[in-house]
Symmetry: C2
Amino acid sequence: MEILQNDLLLRAARGEQVERIPVWVMRQAGRILPEYRAVREKAGSFIQLATNPELAAEVTLQPVNILGVDAAIIFSDILVVPEAMGLPYIMEEKSGPVFPEVIKTMADVDKLRISNPEVDLKYVIDAIKIVKHELNGRVPLIGFAGAPFTLLCYMIEGRGSKTFSKAKKYLYTEPELSHALLQKITDSTIAYLKAQIAAGANLVQVFDSWAGILSPEQYRIYSLPYIAQICDAITEVPVTIFAKGAFFAREEMGKLNCETIGLDWNMDIAESRKLIGNSKTLQGNLDPCVLYGTFNEIKNQTRSMMQQFGNQRYIANLGHGVYPDTDPDKVRCFIDTVKEG
Amino acid sequence: MEILQNDLLLRAARGEQVERIPVWVMRQAGRILPEYRAVREKAGSFIQLATNPELAAEVTLQPVNILGVDAAIIFSDILVVPEAMGLPYIMEEKSGPVFPEVIKTMADVDKLRISNPEVDLKYVIDAIKIVKHELNGRVPLIGFAGAPFTLLCYMIEGRGSKTFSKAKKYLYTEPELSHALLQKITDSTIAYLKAQIAAGANLVQVFDSWAGILSPEQYRIYSLPYIAQICDAITEVPVTIFAKGAFFAREEMGKLNCETIGLDWNMDIAESRKLIGNSKTLQGNLDPCVLYGTFNEIKNQTRSMMQQFGNQRYIANLGHGVYPDTDPDKVRCFIDTVKEG
């Protein structure tokens, strides 16, 4: 049994009493720190960094050492799962991730494999092991994966999009293919999260980044059931679900077999608590743009947020990933304000 | 006093009894019709088409003649207002609209003029006059403008963006500049909408396309008050407010001095009616992706939507603009299903 010096995040997730609110920042590993950019340059490319366990571990640890967050989150990308299933991606400097081959037919789905994370994603598992060794129990480590629907979006659309209309088209025209693909992604994701946990992840978060493009009805058909399967399968550690834009599904998310629900900054705190109920921990939800403001404004907004969430069953965070051009001192101000209580 | 052969849209907007639900489609003018693409090619570019009154009128009339919608909407772009204020845009084939110069300082805001629509936007006003003549009272004509906040987004960011974090940064760092800019846009927009009405627009719609990137608090400070000013100023014809993604502001929108509120497909119909109240007409909200489905599916989804909205105080539409690759026959199926009741 692992003993953690700081287990605030895990206690808050499980609904246990905490002496202060734990805090971490989505996208804390990477993007904002000059120390990250130095390692990124050494690696050559984003993918070379993500697939190099030593370097991935190094940037995972940076925010713990430099910013003082209450948890590390493994540096990786949600698109490693499609790649492990047989659909590789490349990272284009301007347009972001691109899949040279996309899913078009049921034969394409049939060709995908349920990934074996110990082999196909060994570089992530190895990075986790290095991080755990280096952390030496200081703070918990968060593992993560993309939600099946969000991964389907990329696997059909082939790249980022404002509407993902090509991917959504499949939900309306090829429901059978869509469900077969979602099930394969779900099976791969469960295996992947379990491997992360076996390697030492103390909590796992599922990112449904594109939840907000679905109608409430489609979300109930094509996203929630697969997230529910993941929640039911992961019993070893607390699970956090963050479905950006899925304000319409908060009541249903309150019934998922998970510990924590992440909120984006569009979601009113009191209303979310009412819809989700008291049996879940909430996480979020400062607008990342607040960190462009003055130190005083950051403190005021952070305190106001904490007051609305309350001290228990709450994990402080932003409502989305920190923006790349944010001053690290502003991020530290956010973190310190939470820690001061 | 103009006599319209089909005034269903206006009666529905004003809350008067209608014998059937009126229907039109956001982005119906342009994009989907081969007849549009022929005119677009003749014009040379999007901007050349939008600034040519005869051709803009021609594509405005196409959906009335070809698809049988219950209203025309003038073919134009929300970015003509910044241009008329002294900030021109260009249209890049790949990335969409781009502003070569953006707003950075209060001096930049001071340099902007309150547009005189009869001069600066004469091409739109002329197009409206041609359309009115050609329509000859068959159906109403809808005028439109972008909401001040959405225009601010482009005027500061300079181009489309997933987060508009550069523009939002100004709200947090330059509130005085932001309000000065919003007020100038608002004054220009009111003058522009009044000129459209004087030329014959029977209803005007305000598009707050980027409402969804704001927190509820920021929306109350930086968007709603300016929309309210527009609603209060436009007393000649019904006003529709469509704020995509502003699910959190539905209750406040129910208190605006406007006739109709547009819903996107994320917004639950019954819940929206409850939040907005019974004194407004609702418009929307089929997921544009439904039109990728089979004819049967389109009919079923459209009927289910109509049943949820009810026959009165309702204008059928999509929950956002129709996607460019939609089969016109599928759009016609949607329209015909509404008309069949």
